[in-house]
Symmetry: C2
Subunit: 200 residues, 2 copies
C-alpha cells in the first residue's frame, strides 16, 4: 500500500517540512503547487536557494548579511558613523530601517545571551563591537535587543561593558504599542510605560 | 535607505513568498534559516525542487503523480482492478490510501467542475475515465469528491454520465465526523447523517 508518495515528491515534501513554520500539510501543499507551477518559477526558487548560499556573507564590520563587505550601510558616507545601533539578528536591521527614523550604523550580535541554550557573551559578536569603539569616533550606542529575558540580560551585560568606556549607552523605550488598548496591556508593559512617562 | 535586503536574500524571500501559505514574515524567517543552515540542507532542498520537476509525471491511466507510468497502483496485480475510486487531486489518493481500507484503483480528475473559475467537464480527465470503462471489467465507481458545492456538482455530473453504462456508481457517506460533537454539527451535515442512518 502506498502510504508515502513516489520518491521525488516525498523528498520534496520532506525538505519543505524541515523549514521553520512549515508542517506536513503545508509541505504537501507547496510540493503540489510546485509540481503544477511552470518550469521557470520552480527553477527560480531552486536557483535563489543556491545563489544565497554562494553569494551571501557577513559584513566584516557590522556582521549584517550582505553580498559585499563592508555592507552598503557601513560604506555609506551619508550615514552617521558616530551612532551604532546594536541588534540581535540581521532581520532586526531591516525592521529598524523600515521606520525611516534612523540614519546611524548597526552592529549585529548574532543572537542574545541565553544560558538555557548555552549561548554566552563569547558566542556573540561582541569583540568586533569593542573593536569599533577603540578610535573614539562613536558617541552613542543604542541597545535595540528584543524585550525578553535574553534581550534584557544582553542589554545589561553590554551596558556594564560599554558605559565605563565613556560612551553614551541608550536602549529602546518600553511602553504601550501604538494602536493598542490599555485594558489589555500586561502589567509589566504598563509598569514600564508609567515609569517612562513623558510630559504631554 | 536600505528597505529591501541585498540582492540574493531578497530574491530568496520573494521566491518563498510566492508559495501557498507562506507570507512575507514566514518567507524572511525561512530565508534566514537557510542562510545559517549547512550547505547540504540548502542543496538538498534546491535539488529536490529541480528533481521533482524533472522526474515527476502523471500516470497515463489514472492521472496520479508518479515517476513511472503506469504508476505503482495501476500496475499492482494484487489490487482490485474492478473498482475505481474517482478523486479530485493526487493528494486525495494519499488520504484514501492512509485509511488502509481501500484496495481498488483510482482516477484523478485534476479538479472539480467550478463555473466561477471557468472549470468545466472538458477541463477534467473525464475522457480517460470513460476510456477505462469501455472493456466492461470495472464493476463499481466510487465518487470520492470533496463534499462542497464543486464536488457535489461533479458527483452529480459523473453519476448521470456513468450510471447509464450499467456500472454501479456509489459515493462516500456524509455524516458526523468521528470524535465530533452533535451539538456543534451544522444542520446540513446532521441532516445527511439522519438520512443515511443505519441499524445499530
Amino acid at each position: 500500500m502506498a502510504l508515502a508518495y513516489d520518491g521525488a515528491i516525498q523528498r520534496l515534501i520532506d525538505a519543505f517540512n524541515k523549514l521553520p513554520g512549515i508542517g506536513p500539510k503545508g509541505a504537501q501543499r507547496i510540493a503540489f503547487y510546485l509540481l503544477s507551477a511552470d518550469e521557470q518559477e520552480a527553477a527560480a526558487l531552486a536557483d535563489a536557494i543556491t545563489e544565497v548560499k554562494a553569494k551571501v556573507r557577513f559584513c566584516d564590520i557590522c556582521g549584517n548579511v550582505c553580498e559585499t563587505s563592508p555592507c552598503p550601510i557601513c560604506s555609506d558616507p551619508r550615514r552617521d558613523h558616530t551612532l551604532i545601533c546594536v541588534v540581535e539578528e540581521p532581520k532586526d536591521v531591516m525592521s529598524i530601517e523600515r521606520t525611516r527614523e534612523y540614519r546611524g550604523m548597526y552592529h549585529v550580535l548574532g543572537g542574545a545571551i541565553n544560558p538555557m541554550a548555552n549561548v554566552g557573551p563569547s558566542d556573540l559578536h561582541i569583540a568586533g563591537l569593542l573593536e569599533r569603539l577603540k578610535d573614539d569616533s562613536v558617541k552613542e550606542i543604542i541597545l535595540a535587543l528584543d524585550p525578553n529575558i535574553e534581550g534584557e540580560a544582553t542589554t545589561t551585560y553590554l551596558s556594564r561593558l560599554i558605559s565605563p568606556l565613556g560612551i553614551k549607552v541608550t536602549r529602546l523605550a518600553s511602553g504601550l504599542p501604538v494602536g493598542s488598548d490599555l485594558e489589555y496591556a500586561d502589567e509589566i508593559t504598563l509598569g514600564r510605560a508609567l515609569a517612562g512617562r513623558r510630559e504631554a
